[in-house]
């Protein structure tokens, strides 16, 4: 069962709610304040439950703090305050809300937290239909070992020359971020899924082209892409033998760029090569399974 962080400054309600969550099988870490959350949260936390007001801030301050570090972490308000009486939060924070009204409130909280902690309930990006199976399939590979392979480095170096682009990479999209197992032309290690174009590429078996990132409404608001000087993008999905999308093989350029049919076909062939290498490593049992 996932770990839940519960933040409430009132000793009595904190104790009873922690008890209810623990009875449902969750491991619970209790915090009393916004400041205390900083030392409580880590990547094992599957959900944060917070009351409306705290001694050093509001529940929305907790949400901001959590999402800065773990943007996918679901946040649930559990409070006796009606929506109209809540402190003002950011218009785009988006949280779940369970009213702490009567004795049945803990049951409803457990239901909502159970769903939030076990499914991808609040990500700021589209999620593939079979996400748990997909993530499990990816976990069968040793990503650190793949990142050490020279094969993918050679391939991405070849791609930058072939397409005359700034950056080529092989990225694997895990539950919360994209990990670059090979990257020619830049020193990228990871990118959160809500900032990653490959988050969208893994949804389609067609080669995905973004000729101008700033003119594509899906990515125009993503400042991180601008910081990385990603102005155009082409990506081809890679899957395992069962068809689970694992990531993408991609071209990135610092200027707007289109791709001809022949170039798209070539990118697909590069991706097929990576896919075959991954498949081979799995069959040889050296994929880390």
């Amino acid at each position: 069962m996932p770990t839940v962080v519960y933040v409430d400054g009132d000793n009595e309600t904190r104790s009873s709610t922690v008890g209810a969550l623990e009875s449902a099988g969750f491991e619970v870490r209790a915090s009393e304040s916004v400041e205390a959350v900083e030392t409580t949260i880590d990547d094992s936390v599957g959900c944060v439950v917070v009351t409306a007001t705290l001694s050093d801030g509001t529940g929305f301050d907790v949400v901001e703090l959590v999402r800065d570090q773990y943007p996918d972490c679901p946040c649930v308000f559990f409070t006796s305050k009606a929506p109209a009486d809540l402190p003002r939060g950011g218009r785009e924070q988006v949280v779940e809300y369970v009213p702490r009204t009567d004795s049945s409130a803990h049951d409803r909280l457990v239901d909502v937290v159970m769903a939030a902690a076990t499914e991808a309930t609040q990500p700021a990006y589209p999620v593939p239909k079979d996400e748990p199976e997909r993530v499990a399939a990816l976990e069968a590979y040793d990503v650190d070992e793949l990142a050490a392979l020279e094969t993918f480095e050679r391939l991405t170096a070849l791609m930058t020359a072939h397409f005359d682009i700034d950056v080529a990479f092989v990225g694997l999209v895990d539950a919360h971020e994209e990990r670059f197992v090979a990257c020619e032309g830049a020193n990228w290690r990871t990118l959160s899924r809500e900032d990653s174009i490959c988050t969208h590429t893994i949804l389609t078996d067609e080669v995905m082209i973004v000729e101008n990132v700033r003119e594509d409404p899906r990515f125009a608001g993503v400042d991180r892409l601008d910081e990385l000087d990603i102005k155009s993008y082409a990506g081809a999905r890679i899957t395992d033998d069962e068809g689970n999308p694992l990531g993408a093989v991609c071209c990135v350029h610092g200027e707007s760029r289109s791709y001809t049919r022949a170039e798209r076909d070539d990118l697909r062939r590069f991706a097929d090569e990576v896919q075959e290498q991954l498949s081979l490593r799995r069959r040889l049992g050296s994929g880390g399974a």
Binding site: F77, A82, P83, A84, L86, G89, G90, R91, E92, Q93, V94, V95, E96, Y97, V98, P99, T101, S104, R108, D111, V112, M114, A115, A116, E119, A120, T121, Q122, P123, A124, Y125, P126, V127, P128, K129, E194, H200, L203, D216, P217, R218, A220, G221, V222
Partner: protein, 216 residues
Amino acid sequence: MRHGTRYEFPDLPLKSVGAGTNLLLTGPTLEGARELLLRLLLGEDGVVIITADTSARKVLGEFEDVGGRIDRERVRVVSCAQERDDDLGDFVTSVGSPGDLTGIGIEYSSQYEAVYARGYDTVRTGIYTLTPLLVYSEDVRPVFRFVNTVTSRIRTADGLGVCAIDPSAHDERVINSIAQPFDARVDVREVDGTIQLRVRGLSDQPSEWTTVPALR
């Protein structure tokens, strides 16, 4: 929660759907989409409507026009339209703007819980429409978060979700991404005054354009 629950659609050319189903209704604003969305909410289940571009008063009037019964214990509205509907009572709540996704989400959860607490463990949710929410957001990612949050609640609470969007108002790539958490797309159009629908994503539903019988 009742297991095995299915949601029926009397007088519509659609078979029942399983509990936890989310449908994305795509069609131009003025061509039957709102009428069809409201007809999909008919039944004895709880109902929560999020209205983004029309006042709660008008939506409730139209819900009655398609045969809906306004029972304040069972039917709830979250309005983020410009018109204030505060005088209607606490079964209607207002959020200042379609851009306040946090406020809409919290008010929706609150109304859902209010209906649930009154014994309605099957709830139909209608969102009309997502278009203003997207238009008011400079960044599409918070809208993804909102749609994922609402559809997850519906899925895990064995509810039914029907969410409308005007495809002509958005980039097709955005529509395709927004459609991801939905189980099926119901396309709607109006031909010579007749509403037609087709369904993509559920194999037992009509995949070709099918006439929706007019209201009796």
